[in-house]
């Protein structure tokens, strides 16, 4: 899908210049990597506890010691994830305070229009996909869904980890509610990641920009045409804009 057809004017021996466009900075790539590992570990250690009566779970949790060990891993990973969330929020706060927080990820009315047009495109009413900027509505949905989902998971996780302390402040009814929310939200998140996120980054096209940090020209033109036009038509400021300023 991403192979380039040589234009009629180009000779076969021409050195092809592959233009790449910075997309994610080092911090964002590390954040994603750590998040990915954390969620994977939390799911792998959490699901056997949720489905403790199933055979596959009993193979994993074969003894009370194993259960305690799995819980320990879950707790340690949760602490790492909490640190990541705090880092993410602190960075956003810092950038916001210095008025450098890029607004690309904020949901706007255009996203709803894009989603509607996309739906019309998918059911063959429109011929063209809507043109997207740096983050299309699908990517914004991914970010914000996981943002709130992780928020719920972290809060409900700590409530059931430290129920005695929590009920000093909050009514007791939040404990069973947190137990339920933690377990159910985990399933909703897992479903979302597997169906929505995996489709968009693996099947629709293999998009590794979150690991490499850059996107090639064709993908830019095809999937982020508004951003591409903006960058290409303002060549001097293009490589240096927004939060990508320190990208190597």
């Amino acid at each position: 899908m991403s192979q380039q057809k040589p234009t009629p004017s180009s000779s076969t021996n021409r050195v092809k210049v592959l233009r790449t466009f910075p997309r994610f900075n080092v911090s964002q790539r590390w954040e994603h990597g750590i998040l990915l590992i954390c969620i994977a570990i939390l799911l792998l250690t959490g699901l056997p506890q949720k489905y403790s009566s199933s055979t596959w779970s009993q193979t994993i949790i074969s003894s009370p010691e194993r259960l305690a060990f799995i819980q320990l891993i879950h707790h340690i990973t949760a602490l790492v994830l909490t640190a990541l969330v705090l880092y993410h929020l602190a960075k956003a706060g810092y950038l916001l305070a210095r008025r450098k927080l890029p607004g690309d990820m904020l949901p706007v009315l255009q996203d709803i229009k894009d989603a509607w047009n996309m739906l019309l495109y998918l059911i063959y009413i429109k011929k063209q996909k809507p043109a997207f900027g740096k983050y299309n509505f699908e990517q914004k949905v991914t970010y914000w869904f996981l943002f709130f989902s992780i928020g719920i998971m972290v809060i409900s996780g700590y409530v059931r980890w430290f129920p005695e302390a929590v009920t000093r402040v909050l009514p007791g009814g939040v404990i069973p509610a947190a137990i339920m929310a933690h377990s159910t939200e985990a399933m909703a998140t897992a479903i979302f990641i597997v169906i929505w996120h995996f489709y968009h980054v693996h099947i629709e096209r293999l998009n590794l920009s979150i690991f490499s940090g850059w996107l090639n020209e064709e993908d830019m033109r095809k999937y982020h045409s508004l951003e591409y036009d903006q960058l290409v038509h303002q060549p001097h400021s293009s490589q240096d804009s927004g939060d990508l300023s320190h990208e190597a």
């Binding site: 403790s52 009993q58 005695e164 009920t167 007791g172 069973p176 399933m187 909703a188 979302f192």
Partner: protein, 369 residues
Amino acid sequence: MSKITLVTKLPGIFLVIGFLSQASLLWYTTAHASEPAQQTEEYCLSCHSNPDLKTTLPSGETLSLYISPEKLKDSVHSPNGIECEACHTNITTYPHPPIEYQTIRDLSRSYYAACQKCHPDNYTKTMDSMHAQAAEAGDLDAPICTDCHGSHYVHPPDQPRTLIPSTCGNCHTKEYSVYQSSVHGNALEQESNPDVPVCTTCHGVHNIQDPTTQQFRVDEPDLCASCHANEEMMSKYGLSAEVYSLYSLSWHGVNVSVYDARWPTVQHNSAVCSDCHGIHDILKPNDPNSSVNPNNLLVTCQKCHPGVGPNWTGAWTGHYEVSLERSPFLYYVEWFYSIFTPMILWICGIYVALQIIRLIVDRARRSLR
């Protein structure tokens, strides 16, 4: 003209054989029951009906040798022809052989082995019991058959049913008096209630097991459920029969069921019924002295969760359906996710399916062009 072959005779032969084998059974049992007309009782009682008949054992204890003829006639054995020599097998003549027992207990512990002859199943069961273990460990006062059932004057042990706790209470005095004041014991003694558990309902009869083991602990919810999950029985007393099934879904119940199913002997502290409701001292929850009375509940929780605040009891949902009145947080969370999770599944699924269809159709068109 009539062909009487072996085949046509066969049903008749079976019938005859069947009848004979059934009849022989009848003959065998009647013969067996009528056989031990031992005729010893009358003979023995000619001396032993004397209330003053006694002897002194080497230990210095006085052993009364008096047998009340009236009470003996009233026992289960004598009217069925099971008379003195059935158990006193070592006494066949008069004058009797010399008594070789040092103490009365010695004598009892020797004679009770005779029960095994006719009651081998129950006798064997007692060998596995807590009581047998105590005897093995050297406690000669550990109960033997005759301690609970009596020796000469044996009656059905559960008639009336109140007899069971009082029999156990002969030794277990503290447990008995606590039980008497519990909701179960009180209903038994005051109302002769046929449904409430007596000692043997929970502890078993002859093979009484150690109730302090982990195995007993994790099995306990099932034990209580054998009555408290019985819809018919609970409805008589206006009690919910859902307490067990709802408990099984609760935090404590899930933990206990995992341990019960997989590691029943591993020490585990998730609360079972008796941890909150008490054991022999179970009271109605609205009794001011009940450990689960709303006023006492926090103290009960603090047994396992030391230092928790007053809000803590609100976290308990183990016997109630999720409802807006009782558990509003849980109610709204459950309501939210009952919509949210399927919604996420459907939206993601449909959207991605549409994209895949469009992608495949576009590619197919391009390649066909």
